[in-house]
Symmetry: C2
Subunit: 209 residues, 2 copies
DNA sequence: CTGATATGACCGACTGTCGGTCTATATTTA
DNA sequence: TAAATATAGACCGACAGTCGGTCATATCAG
């Protein structure tokens, strides 16, 4: 049967189905035919929209990161907030990844053996999120609550650590191991940014979702 | 033509050729036939030694990590060294990855888009190296040169950061960007471990290889 | 209003590649 | 010489990607 749709609508259908499959089965194990079946289209249609399977992955990652970046940008540009408030708000906005096409993700754990997706997410997150966070840190330095000569690089290190350590796809921690790492991470942030000891304690609540 | 070799010798030939190919072309883009051609053997011979392409990758990673772990273990168990000396020595031993089957790697850059290899290396390095380093840190705490309640977790964070940020496969930094990150990383180590400011300055020399 | 034409969404058979299997044969060892 | 081990390459199924073409719709000429 033949059903005609608008370009963007069809494209999003493909992205949505592919995202669900990539997350649940893993990118490599998901076949083009899986996607075709899920969307209910033919091969040709798929390749009318994307020129490869990897291009779909890139589009999905971009869509996810784009949403996070938008939130972060919005918070960072609020002139009424202190650096610390911004930092908390941005980190809080990342953690629970809800939203239109993300509801699905919460249910399923990140798939181990999904290296491509993990790596691409990581790299894109660093590239797009770190400039925004760096500005917030610089604001915090002016406010005299942070102290470091390397705001940009510190942000990168912290983002990488958090993404890898807390991503279920890399390590499968027990609950108490997770708690331990979250606590340690809070201390690491404080020390790395040169913040007052205990000033990030509130973040524990956020991390323990 | 038919050439018979000892089990270990043939196996190592396969690992060596595969490693070169994985590093230069990337794991996914390297085909079994590429390996067969490089070694000069037939399909059946390959599968006599390994039951899958991924098993070859795992064996390669294990071989690399194993060498690093052995070095680290040897240093860590030297009772005449201070914690700081051990730390330097271990990190120094990692950086320039020379040796029998590693000479090749130095020449070629790490391939971007080699997610499987990067991820597996990272995870294995953390798993096998962090216990050894943790003991060294604990020694340093007893020596009163480090101060942290989370030696294990701190080591994990630092290892992850270093592996990802300094791995050419993830980001391609310019020389001055690399220097900047190395300097920032030195400060991060000091702060994370609660060491005296400047005590890790010597490490810069090591990192700048 | 109506037929011609252009656009692009849609289809699925087909192709080439690749990881992996299977069977045959040669060599070594006991 | 029998069993175990090593080597060979033909073969297979699954999969990503291609290709030639159909069909719906919008626009425009008469």
């Amino acid at each position: 049967m033949r059903i005609v749709k608008e370009h963007e609508e069809r494209r999003n259908e493909i992205l949505n189905s592919a995202q669900t499959l990539f997350v649940t089965k893993g990118y490599t194990k998901t076949t083009i035919n899986d996607i075709l079946q899920a969307v209910g289209i033919a091969k040709g249609t798929f390749y009318h929209y994307f020129k490869s399977k990897e291009e779909v992955l890139d589009a999905i990652i971009e869509r996810i990161i784009q949403a996070d970046v938008a939130k972060a940008q919005h918070i960072a540009s609020d002139a009424t907030l202190s650096a610390m408030e911004k930092l908390f708000a941005i980190l809080l906005a990342q953690a629970p990844q809800q939203g239109d096409h993300k509801e699905q993700l919460i249910e399923h754990l990140h798939q181990p053996d999904n290296a491509e997706m993990h790596q691409k997410s990581l790299v894109q997150a660093i590239i797009h999120l770190s400039p925004i966070l760096t500005e917030v840190i610089e604001q915090g330095i002016e406010e005299n609550i942070f102290q470091t000569n390397y705001p940009q690089e510190t942000v990168e290190f912290l983002l990488v650590s958090a993404q890898v350590i807390f991503d279920e796809g890399f390590f499968q921690w027990q609950p108490e191991e997770m708690l331990q790492r979250a606590t340690a991470f809070v201390q690491l942030i404080e020390r790395a940014l040169g913040a007052k000891e205990g000033s990030f304690q509130k973040m524990l609540t956020i991390l323990l979702k």
